[in-house]
């Protein structure tokens, strides 16, 4: 009997896995399995139902308390991403980059990687990126004579960059879990003035590894263009030369947003939540100025939206200017009456422009779509957190913590062995489960143990994020491949998509290995920025 109790946590994990594969929504399945094992635990007298009473308090404390501001970044980033998607940023970028690089051998492949990276840093929504590029770039690449394998692999891989390049929703949620785990680990070690690791640290940590992957992807495109020119031919030059105006029109919005949002987070000027809020407003201005969702774009409305956007940029620059070279934070109001008046005028113009943009978007229906999608994605993410918190509550009460800890300590090779086994398990789970489930279920269980072994939290977070990203790309179950299969033309066989993904999986493994062996790649930037 006592051995049964000891393996109960393992059974619980196995049961959850089996139940999830049935296909009922994850959030409730996790809760249902947890309840079943709570009943078994009660029958065996190892679980006290009094712990159930804490469940609403846990929901409140985990999700709704004032100190959980960081979670608000999730709906805000989703709002920003969906808004950009509706204003056809991706389509314009693909066209512009295709025109810019397309005439080189391998150029279309490079442009897909670059667009994937830009979208990753602005919208960060993997599914939408893969679908858009699959619908727009894949047919073009095939028409130009690209091998289906290379085209499909490039698109799927570039789409997954959205997870690793900050700001990304994955990193917000993972950073939050790692942050909690780090505090728990330090408390368990008796450190009473613990170090804090923030989502901003993880953003900074993921930046260099993300760019490293982009570099490796581009390098692969160049390599193929040189060694197998037939797989990646050049497109004929467009008539009338390159249209720089069009390219700037496509590039400026995402670059501006990336600069403002990521820049203010990395510079330590704003929290991720604040930056996400400003990013969402910026995206709304862009969509409003383009009159997204309708065919016409009257000049006057366009002008007012642009003036509003310019005023917002002006306010941003004013704040940056006020803080430039100052040791303490200065406010614009401190700079004198004229400055203050100027700021008020800018605020007025911003409000006017925002109101008009919103009115335009409401009329065309885009605003409703964005709000509904934000509500749905937000509910999807956080209700999984509710289900997962019940799961981990009961997993812990059944002694799962100690079981996992003993198992990890028994792995030969110390912290490296434990890390390797955790990474392997996460990789395998990533075939079947979304990053959200893995982040909410696995990370809180294993991360405190790993951190207690002396592993750096930012390094661990970046490795986990890269690992999950890789498993989303790995045949046969990678999510990105499913998204692409859904929109790829029938002449691109599933086998071709799988074969095309494999080189990129190898590139990912090289990237992970690089970060594992040279931790500086992940920890260098946050240390340099935040000390």
């Amino acid at each position: 009997m006592s051995t049964f109790i000891e393996i109960l946590p393992f059974l619980m994990f196995a049961a959850a896995f089996a139940a999830l594969l049935r296909g009922y929504p994850v959030a409730f399945t996790l809760a249902g399995v947890a309840l079943l094992f709570a009943l078994i635990g009660m029958a065996l007298d190892v679980f006290d139902p009094i712990h159930f009473r804490a469940f609403p308090q846990r929901i409140y404390g985990n999700l709704m308390e004032m100190d959980r501001q960081i979670l608000v970044a999730v709906p805000l980033f989703v709002f920003m991403g969906v808004m950009l998607e509706k204003s056809k940023v991706a389509e314009e970028l693909l066209e512009a980059m295709g025109a810019l690089f397309g005439t080189m051998r391998g150029g279309l492949g490079i442009s897909v990687v670059v667009v994937g990276a830009l979208l990753a840093a602005s919208t960060g929504i993997v599914g939408a990126t893969v679908v858009t590029m699959g619908l727009l770039s894949l047919p073009t690449m095939l028409k130009r004579g690209y091998s289906p394998e290379l085209a499909a692999g490039s698109i799927a891989a570039s789409g997954t960059l959205g997870q690793i390049i900050p700001p990304s929703i994955v990193l917000v949620l993972l950073g939050d879990q790692i942050s909690n785990a780090y505090q728990e680990a330090q408390r368990a070690q008796g450190i009473f003035s613990p170090d804090i690791v923030s989502v901003g640290d993880l953003f900074a940590g993921a930046l260099i590894p993300g760019l490293l992957l982009v570099g490796l992807y581009i390098g692969y495109q160049v390599f193929i263009a040189i060694t197998r020119p037939n797989s990646a031919p050049a497109a004929p030059a467009p008539e009338g030369g390159t249209d720089w105006g069009k390219i700037l029109h496509a590039l400026l919005p995402p670059l501006g947003l990336i600069f403002a949002v990521l820049g203010s987070i990395l510079a330590g000027l704003a929290t991720p939540t604040e930056a996400a809020g400003i990013g969402a407003v910026g995206a709304t201005f862009l969509a409003g100025a383009r009159n997204a969702g309708s065919d016409t774009n009257p000049r006057l409305g366009q002008l007012v939206s642009f003036v509003g956007l310019a005023a917002l940029v002006g306010l941003f620059l004013l704040v940056v200017f006020a803080n430039l070279g100052q040791e303490r934070r200065l406010f614009v109001a401190d700079l004198g009456a004229m400055c203050s008046l100027f700021a008020w005028v800018l605020v007025g113009l911003t409000v006017l422009g925002a109101a008009l943009s919103l009115w335009r978007l409401k009329r065309s229906g885009v605003l409703d779509e964005v709000m509904s999608s934000t509500a749905n994605i937000s509910a999807m993410v956080f209700v999984i957190l509710i289900g997962a918190s019940l799961f981990s509550l009961i997993f812990r009460e059944l002694g799962g913590d100690e079981v996992v800890q003993h198992a990890l300590e028994a792995v030969p090779g110390g912290k490296w062995g434990a890390l390797a086994i955790v990474m392997l398990v996460m990789f395998l789970l990533g075939f079947f489960l979304d990053f959200i489930e893995i982040t909410f279920v696995v990370v809180p269980i294993v991360a405190p143990i790993l951190l207690m072994m002396g592993i750096d939290p930012v390094w661990l977070g970046v490795l986990m994020a890269m690992n999950l990203q890789t498993s989303f790309l790995t045949p046969p179950f990678g999510f990105a491949l499913f998204y692409l299969r859904g929109v790829a033309p029938p002449e691109v066989t599933t086998a071709a998509i799988y074969r095309g993904a494999i080189p990129f999986v190898i590139i990912q493994l090289i990237g992970i290995l690089a970060v594992a062996l040279v931790p500086w790649l992940a920890t260098g930037l946050p240390e340099w920025l935040y000390g």
Binding site: F28, I125, A128, S378, M380, D434
Partner: protein
């Protein structure tokens, strides 16, 4: 106006009306609530708990009938009753979701306002800060049921997507009764003491200049559970209709997509 807009408008107008009356009477509304609300809530809560205790077996009806329908032909009146039930429930959950979606915009606007206040004018309002968390919580708690209706709660669909329509209907039906309703019922059951203690003192923010509505915010948790049970019943009824080879009511449009 879309589903839920009117509902939200009425709530906002009631709130504004109450605060105007409160201002005119010099805090009269607030003190009346302070004096009477805990008692009223206590008696309503007690009646709800009593009703739940005796009425919960009704919830299993769609399950029983669906399993029964496997062996005998059900009367068509039952099918039309189920269709009507689905319509009523989805109007309710869709209304809540439709109203909640505005909080997405509210989050953006209020967060941006806070940022400008803080960085440009060096001024911070605790009430505004707290309203962000309120909107964030209400957004996902109240939109969860309509997200289920829109099939926006992520599934592991490696096998589900390949299952037949009947297979999917069975999974949904059993999923509702094995996972969704037990989880929601647990939340409701465990909330009784929690609600009691927060409504008794009409719990307010820990900050003296914060919002005094923590008890309402916490009440959104059992409300979430109720909405999920309702939508679960609708999901079960839909599955039952599908298993009986009947037409299911169309899903409402304008629900938005949901994938990351």
């Amino acid at each position: 106006m879309r589903q839920g807009d009117g509902f939200l408008l009425v709530l906002v107008l009631v709130g504004i009306g109450l605060s105007i009356v409160d201002g005119m009477t010099g805090g009269g509304v607030a003190s009346w609530f302070q004096a009477n609300l805990p008692g009223i809530a206590q008696s309503i809560g007690g009646k709800l708990a009593l009703a739940a205790r005796y009425l919960w077996p009704i919830l299993t009806l769609p399950l029983i009938m669906a399993v029964l329908g496997r062996f005998i032909a059900l009367p068509s009146a039952w099918h039309s009753f189920q269709r009507g039930l689905v319509g009523v429930i989805e109007t309710i959950t869709g209304g809540f979701g439709g109203a909640a979606r505005w909080f997405a915009l509210g989050l953006v606007v209020v967060t941006a306002t806070i940022v400008v206040q803080r960085y440009v004018f060096g001024f911070a309002s605790t009430k505004l800060q707290e309203s962000v968390i309120y909107m964030h919580a209400l957004l996902f708690l109240l939109a969860s049921a309509s997200t289920l209706l829109a099939d926006g709660h992520v599934r592991v669909d490696i096998f589900y997507s390949k299952a037949s329509e009947r297979g999917k209907a069975w999974i949904d039906l059993l999923g509702v009764y094995l996972t969704l309703i037990p989880m929601s019922a647990l939340i409701l059951w465990a909330s009784t003491g929690y609600m009691n203690s927060t409504w008794r003192i009409l719990e307010r923010s820990r900050e003296s200049d914060g919002l005094p509505f923590v008890f309402l915010l916490k009440t959104a948790i059992p409300l979430f559970a109720v909405l999920m049970i309702l939508q679960g019943i609708a999901m079960a009824a839909r599955s039952g209709l599908k298993l009986a080879g009947q037409d299911t009511p169309p899903r409402p449009k304008n629900l938005g997509e949901g994938e990351v």
